[in-house]
């Protein structure tokens, strides 16, 4: 064979093959990364989407006066003394009566029949009655949470086979609920309570909600926004526009670069030692959480703000100075407004980062079990001083509980968190697209 460019010799073939291989590695790497993202998202979505559905059982509950208000005078104080245990008994009777009326028979004991309702159900009825004492003596039709296992059955988490091995439910209970469902008493519908209700104890995953966590996260975002944005912008303006090149500003610059890479848990230790132990602010309060997250996001905001300031051309400053503005006026009247979209974008991304941060919040006590909605201001606790929890911490909290239904709740909480993050990032991208200026 003659040597020609048209004939590929062995060495060229080898080199071409290695070229192809190399390209393949690159493509494979991208494929792996994208696959990881897809797996991550599908795993969270499949585990969590069902948290937005909840199974309810409708029951006609007779509210006998002799059990719920013995005095018969509808005195709120006396009625409040009747505990959920009493209401649970009333509910059990109502449920049994309903089964009898529907002609459903079961081999289960009465106690086990009552277990198809959530432990939260009695509290629901009780608060309904306390809110409206006139209901006593009447029969009300009320939608009540089904217990976690029954709910799991309608979501495919619990099957007849797994129920047989389960101490908390039984195949008979599931059949019983199916019979109720055939007669239209059981409904699975969108779970608003998941987004608004507070956390519930580990006995009743079906009642656990994100209300307190969302509120706590919101408060913290307020604190972060109102502290990190002004401080971050002021610091960047100084460093970018005014700072002389000397050792002090060098130290600040190196510092900011390093702070951006300090592990987040270290900020938690800082918060615990300085804000809680030294300044004696309230543990697990959104104020402390917000302060810690502020310190954590400051470097991010400073870095992006400085980039935004840098991208404003010097001619703008020169023009302002030329018509008699002071240096300060040129910055605040001209440079800063032009850099605003970039600054806002950076701030939103910093906020998004802060919203998802968990580790430092664990150390400042945000893992506490909180059922009360925190008020923004109370005279005792001060501004944002009431105990609260936060979205990512709530996720962590739920992963630590034994009942598998909490895995669904945790994944659902993550979906909620991701929706918030997506929304924030979408705003940031929109701002960047809409207002970005090329000089």
């Amino acid at each position: 064979m003659t040597r020609s460019l048209l004939n590929v010799d062995a060495r060229t073939a080898k080199r071409n093959a290695s070229e192809k291989r190399f390209r393949g590695y690159g493509l494979a790497a991208i494929f792996v990364a994208v696959l990881a993202l897809i797996m991550l998202m599908t795993s969270i979505l499949t585990a969590g989407l069902s948290a937005f559905q909840q199974t309810y059982i409708t029951i006609d509950v007779a509210l006998p006066e002799d059990q719920l208000d013995k005095s018969g005078v509808r005195d709120p104080a006396a009625m409040a003394k009747v505990t959920t245990i009493r209401y649970a008994k009333v509910l059990k009777q109502a449920l049994l009566a309903q089964l009898e009326a529907e002609g459903i028979t079961t081999t289960l004991s009465d106690k086990d029949v009552a277990k198809i309702l959530s432990k939260e159900a009695a509290a629901t009825v009780r608060s309904r009655v306390l809110a409206n004492p006139d209901l006593i003596g009447t029969t009300i039709r009320i939608e009540l949470l089904a217990s976690g296992r029954i709910d799991g059955f309608y979501k495919g988490r619990v099957t007849m086979a797994s129920a047989a091995l389960d101490g908390n439910t039984s195949p008979e209970a599931l059949q019983l609920v199916e019979q109720l469902a055939e007669r239209g008493w059981v409904e699975t519908k969108f779970n608003w309570a998941f987004l608004t209700a507070p956390d519930a104890s580990d006995q009743r995953p079906e009642a656990a909600g994100l209300g307190v966590a969302i509120l706590g996260s919101l408060y913290m975002m307020f604190v972060v926004l109102f502290l990190a944005l002004p401080i971050g912008v002021a610091a960047s303006v100084y460093l970018e526009e005014f700072a002389p090149k000397n050792r002090w500003t060098d130290i600040i610059e190196v510092n900011i670069a390093n702070l951006a890479a300090v592990p987040s848990i270290v900020y938690g230790i800082l918060g615990l030692a300085i804000f809680i132990n030294f300044a004696q602010l309230n543990q697990s309060s959104p104020l402390v959480g917000g302060l810690v997250l502020t310190l954590m996001t400051l470097p991010t905001i400073i870095i992006s703000t400085r980039a935004a300031l840098k991208s404003v051309p010097p001619s703008i400053r020169d023009a302002a100075l030329g018509v008699g503005a002071s240096k300060m006026q040129s910055v605040f009247h001209h440079v800063l407004p032009l850099a605003a979209p970039g600054i806002l974008t950076g701030t939103i991304i910093g906020l998004a980062q802060a919203l998802g941060e968990t580790a430092p919040l664990l150390l400042i006590g945000m893992v506490a079990f909180v059922r009360e909605y925190p008020a923004a201001y109370t005279s005792d606790a001060g501004l944002f001083g009431e105990a609260s929890t936060a979205l990512p911490v709530q996720v962590f909290n739920w992963t630590q509980r034994a009942d598998p239904a909490f895995v669904e709740r945790a994944s659902g909480a993550i979906i909620t968190l991701l929706v918030f993050l997506l929304f924030m990032n979408a705003i940031a991208i929109y701002l960047r697209r809409r207002f970005e200026r090329r000089w």
Binding site: P392, T399, L418
Partner: protein, 399 residues
């Protein structure tokens, strides 16, 4: 008078200062028909800031003094703050004359504020170091440093007699970080190479943002992913059949998931660095007849190597300081073992477990968390400084 009340009073003084400054300026303009050296607004702002800034600083100072001295709040500090604020406002108002250059004064106040804001970065670092050093010193007074740094046993016991050796924790941390890097560096690096050298414009436009989504996902999400998906998967398909362990939380689980988290970190940093290699070097290589992959391997990568090493070091520091993934994915047992399918624990996990729940800040079992934190801080700081140094030095070469 409480400090909160003082803040309200100072705000009132500031508003009064603003209004009366404007009134005085108006009068000056009417009575003397004088040309003022500054806009009326500048006089007013000067009056506000002259009272407000000193007043608030006194409040902060007295709050700190109270905290350090431990004295009961007496109202003296609040009184001083209000007095200082009032004095400052009055002086500023008295200085309103046609010749007074209010703008200059306002701007020096604002500059003071800017300087204070930028010093917060320094204060944060000082706060971090101080908060950990103080408690660490407390810890080392109760527990020997040799026992902490060189003991291979970790078994805290709140009744006393704990063994608090950092070695098993460090081993877990480094092992998990190593596995994470083993996964993230090749994937991230090859992704960066493909995106910057081979990919078409269109592919780059979608692949780069998609990979960067991974960087925006909070770590708790990765933690949950490790807990509910990766852990059971590895246990059922690898660890259990191979007889290596029965635990879903393992070094491998945490390492792999952390590796996924680090991919965008490695790839976007490497991407920047590879793009910074001048095109002339590639052209020179092509001119000598090298294929594209030969150019990348023998010209581009060696030129970008210092930067890539810096990126890897930054990724390593991120891996070492990562908390949620290991809390949910790695387990809690302190163990020195080579088996990657066994549960091990890390420095960060132990910081969390020692500082959550009931804590007693006199016991070494709680204080050890600060010593762990300090160790972690020193290690990551060292890595960061070294990495930033390398990256900076490299950048100067080609720009």
């Amino acid at each position: 008078m409480s400090l909160t009340l003082a803040i309200f009073v100072i705000c009132t003084i500031a508003i009064t200062g603003w209004v009366s400054a404007l009134i005085r300026v108006r009068k000056l303009q009417h009575l003397q028909a004088a040309r003022l050296a500054a806009l009326p607004k500048q006089y007013a702002v000067n009056a506000v800031l002259s009272g407000f800034i000193p007043g608030i600083s006194v409040i902060l100072g007295s709050a700190l003094a109270l905290r350090f001295s431990g004295a009961a709040p007496s109202g003296f500090g609040a009184f001083c703050a209000v007095a200082v604020a009032a004095l400052g406002t009055v002086v500023a108002l008295a200085r309103i004359t046609p010749d007074f250059r209010a703008r200059v004064h306002v701007e020096s106040w604002i500059k003071t504020l800017l300087i204070i804001a930028s010093s917060i970065a320094i204060l944060t670092t000082v706060g971090i170091v101080l908060s950990m050093v103080f408690e660490s010193v407390n810890f080392f007074q109760q527990y020997g440093w040799t026992g902490f740094f060189f003991s291979a046993e970790w078994s805290p016991n709140f009744r006393g007699n704990s063994a608090l050796g950092i070695l098993p924790l460090l081993w877990g941390t480094l092992y998990i970080s190593f596995i994470a890097l083993l996964f993230a560096v090749p994937v991230g690096l090859f992704a960066a190479i493909y995106l910057s050298e081979y990919a078409s414009h269109r592919m780059r436009a979608w692949a780069k943002p998609v990979i960067e989504i991974l960087a925006g996902v909070p770590t708790i999400v990765y933690g949950l992913f490790a807990l509910i998906t990766v852990g059971p998967l590895l246990r059922d398909y690898f660890a259990a059949p191979m007889g290596l362990g029965q635990s879903a939380s393992s070094v491998m689980t945490a390492g792999l998931v952390m590796g996924i988290m680090l991919i965008p970190f490695v790839s976007s940093l490497s991407d920047d660095i590879i793009n910074a290699v001048p095109q002339a070097m590639r052209d020179g290589s092509y001119g000598l007849g090298a294929t594209q992959s030969e150019t990348i391997r023998q010209v581009v990568l060696p030129a970008a190597l210092p930067g890539i090493v810096g990126a890897i070091l930054l990724a390593a520091s991120r891996a070492i300081g990562e908390t949620m993934i290991v809390v949910l994915g790695a387990g809690a047992a302190a163990r020195l073992s080579l088996n990657p399918f066994e549960a091990m624990t890390t420095v960060t996990v132990k910081i969390v477990s020692q500082l959550t729940g009931d804590t007693d800040f006199a016991a070494p079992e709680t204080l050890v968390a600060f010593a762990l934190g300090l160790t972690l801080f020193v290690i990551t700081l060292g890595l960061n400084v070294f990495a930033l140094y390398i990256v900076r030095k490299y950048r100067e070469q080609y720009e």
